[in-house]
Symmetry: C2
Subunit: 200 residues, 2 copies
């Protein structure tokens, strides 16, 4: 419903969104040390004061950026696969999951996770996010594969697929690993499909 406040709220929402996207890009491209509120604000074309109004601390900004990107971007990765069926669908889901772990979001998250390993205060904020992202990714994978997650073998095969995807993401950080990755995805999708079919 239109109210006189809407344009201002819209601007505020747009500013917030630009800051969150700039945070992910800064982390992914420049690394943890360079991704300060000032640098992110400049990249987003927002004043430092306005950035701090939205996000008082760097940790607030970074955790909000990871959450926003996880919630808005990761659905795309596997949605397209659902129109397929059989082994083609399984491979499309595996490929979509794996690609989401080579995205700027994963590269940004890697910077944050790695820094948090030696920073107990940051770790405390990231651990609940990790649990939430893990559950979300698992639920989306189960839905996209169309499998019964109450079967423990199926559950562990889906988990293993996400662990594999994470490992393939890490192998893509310093070099373009896409050619090798394509072959691994193809082989694992075939093995996974057969193993999941045996549980239906």
């Amino acid at each position: 419903m239109a109210t006189p406040h809407e344009p201002k709220q819209d601007r505020s929402r747009a500013t917030r969104q630009r800051l969150l996207e700039a945070t992910i890009d800064c982390l992914a491209e420049k690394g943890w040390a360079a991704a300060t509120v000032s640098v992110v604000a400049e990249r987003a074309g927002v004043s430092r004061g306005a950035a701090q109004h939205h996000f008082p601390t760097r940790e607030d900004l970074i955790t909000a950026a990871l959450t926003y990107m996880f919630d808005t971007r990761t659905d795309q990765a596997v949605t397209a696969a659902v129109s397929e069926s059989g082994p083609v669908r399984t491979e499309a889901v595996v490929a979509g999951l794996v690609e989401s772990y080579t995205s700027p979001l994963f590269k940004a998250a890697l910077q944050v996770w790695t820094h948090a390993a030696a920073d107990p205060a940051l770790r405390e904020r990231i651990v609940p996010l990790e649990a939430r992202f893990g559950r979300g990714a698992h639920r989306r994978a189960v839905e996209a594969l169309g499998v019964d997650d109450s079967d423990p073998v199926t559950h562990h095969l889906v988990q293993a697929t996400l662990d594999l995807a994470r490992g393939l993401g890490l192998a893509d950080v310093l070099t373009d690993d896409s050619a090798r990755r394509k072959q691994i995805v193809h082989q694992w999708a075939a093995t996974l499909h057969e193993a999941l079919e045996a549980r239906r």
Copy 2:
């Protein structure tokens, strides 16, 4: 053969080794920013001057530490498995590989890889190491599993197992993931064993 020079050479070798081990511990526990030559030298009980005699730059120290630890430590992970056979051997190999990716060496390497993502000079030194470590880990996995790596399906399944291990290592950085990991290793090993048997 005993020579008058040996004790001095031995001392030098021992100093070098202490520095390399302290580097891995510093990186794994304190993170990239804290792992300077001074901090490592102090931890190793070596003067800064002596440390710089062995390793003129921080990058020299870090790349030497990763190489030394990779060459001396990773054999242990899978050697024990070779006395077994059948699915027990496959699970022991997978478990050994996966455990090597939850070690301080992996946690130290993660700090270096993640920093190198945003530091082109460091990246240039790490990329050849990554390729070398990748080939070494693959060769050891093939030997421990006792499979024919010239078969492309076998080759890709072994690669996928190493990618899975890397992903499980990353899942262990902020929290103790060992209980979940054990179930994933058990399921992956069973699925892998069946898939490898079909290629023999």
